[in-house]
Symmetry: C3
Subunit: 203 residues, 3 copies
Amino acid sequence: MGELVFVITMSAVAVSAITGVLEAGRKPIDLFGVVLVALTSALGGGTMRDLLLERPVFWVANQTFLVAALAAGVLTFVLVRLVRLPANLFLVPDALGLALFTIIGTQVAMNYGAPWFVASFLGLVTGAFGGVLRDILCNEVPLVFSGELYATASWAGAILFIALLHAGVDGTVAGLAAMAAIFLLRIAAIHWHLRLPGFAAKA
Amino acid sequence: MGELVFVITMSAVAVSAITGVLEAGRKPIDLFGVVLVALTSALGGGTMRDLLLERPVFWVANQTFLVAALAAGVLTFVLVRLVRLPANLFLVPDALGLALFTIIGTQVAMNYGAPWFVASFLGLVTGAFGGVLRDILCNEVPLVFSGELYATASWAGAILFIALLHAGVDGTVAGLAAMAAIFLLRIAAIHWHLRLPGFAAKA
Amino acid sequence: MGELVFVITMSAVAVSAITGVLEAGRKPIDLFGVVLVALTSALGGGTMRDLLLERPVFWVANQTFLVAALAAGVLTFVLVRLVRLPANLFLVPDALGLALFTIIGTQVAMNYGAPWFVASFLGLVTGAFGGVLRDILCNEVPLVFSGELYATASWAGAILFIALLHAGVDGTVAGLAAMAAIFLLRIAAIHWHLRLPGFAAKA
């Protein structure tokens, strides 16, 4: 089980790095800048969670994460220069990463004694704020703040996870159910263009 | 006294959340994005202070702040879609929040043993950097860096507070006097368009 | 030796503050905003390193750094309004600061037990991320992500430093050699317009 989580986490880190490369690639940024944006995208959400919890930052203690994000970033950079990748190739693994990061983040926050509502918010931070930091570095309004449900799916799943735990559901079952909910809500949102209302259009 | 501070702090958190909604609402951001900007605006300054002091982050330990900021954000979002709020409705409570956050932040930093000049700077960070982070998320040059005195009023008040304490003035009296100074300087700056010089105009 | 490091560090802090003023001055930002951008530019990289290492933030404990950055920022602001400074006046001291900050940051991270690859990355963070934060505040795509080698020179030097230490070279010799490498690589990059490839141009 521990090994499975490690493999999935590494995959999620790599996928987040790839989305960083794809976004940064549209900017006048060089190879190394693209790699730094990829690292921020992959490691930023978990870093914010760990800083807010006063917990050792996960990739400082174990450099496997930094190496994995870096390798994924460089490989993607090379690949994108060779072939034209379809933009939506990574939507499914990205949704998987969002689901996994959110539930891991929520669990870590609860282990550190955070109150339940704060823990759900730190799950969201873990899942979605790597992308926010990526967009800040690229000088864009964060994508997760608009378009198809993303941050919303993350927070909804974190709250579902906590609700299931409070209802006495086994931790592994609750975690898998909440990850499935985030993943399916995100995929459904992309497929049927589910969005939250904004009020900018009114002005 | 403790209860009064709590009530005023909550009001300041709520007002900061409201200014976040009003700024984010001008952007192509959805409901949840607006709420996240509101949270950043309300909690960002105190979070930076606590991280810099290696102090437990205030809203992680006590989730009342997160709930208050969230509720204020959602209510404002709904309200703004129903009625057109005058833009300057919140200038007075915002000035009150700036004054309160600055002095609380300065006091907290001194309690943690920060040297006096650093403590005054962390008072400024507490008072004004929620707005800076809000503007970064909205992809704008921070508003507190231009226009009528804002960050300047905050830092001036923090230094006044420390000067009064060094002169032997009672803590409560010094705090109230410094808060009054920040509030009045900010309101006067808005009324008479008091600004600091820049040098961009020269180029 | 300790005093020499202190003097060079102070110079590097001051030079970073100056680059902050020069960038912020092109924006509609007032005197105080310019000073805050200068502080971020000067202290931001080391602050990020210290937060990531869970180490007391260097300028919170010793306010000399904050005072030096502030004084450099205000003096530059005044100077720029009086005389037109050539834009490339600070390229050499900035390269010196990059070299020094990178090696100090790498050393500090190793002292805190960070794995070698993480330590090299935190050297880069110390050297280059003050400039990244400066550009985020000024609402620009970070300059260190494009143009002549900058972040790349920093990371290459950090890795050289660690490689020399592993090869048994004396710490002071290794540090000076790595600093010289960063400085010369940066100056050579400016002189011969050495850049890394990007892929934005292809689109």
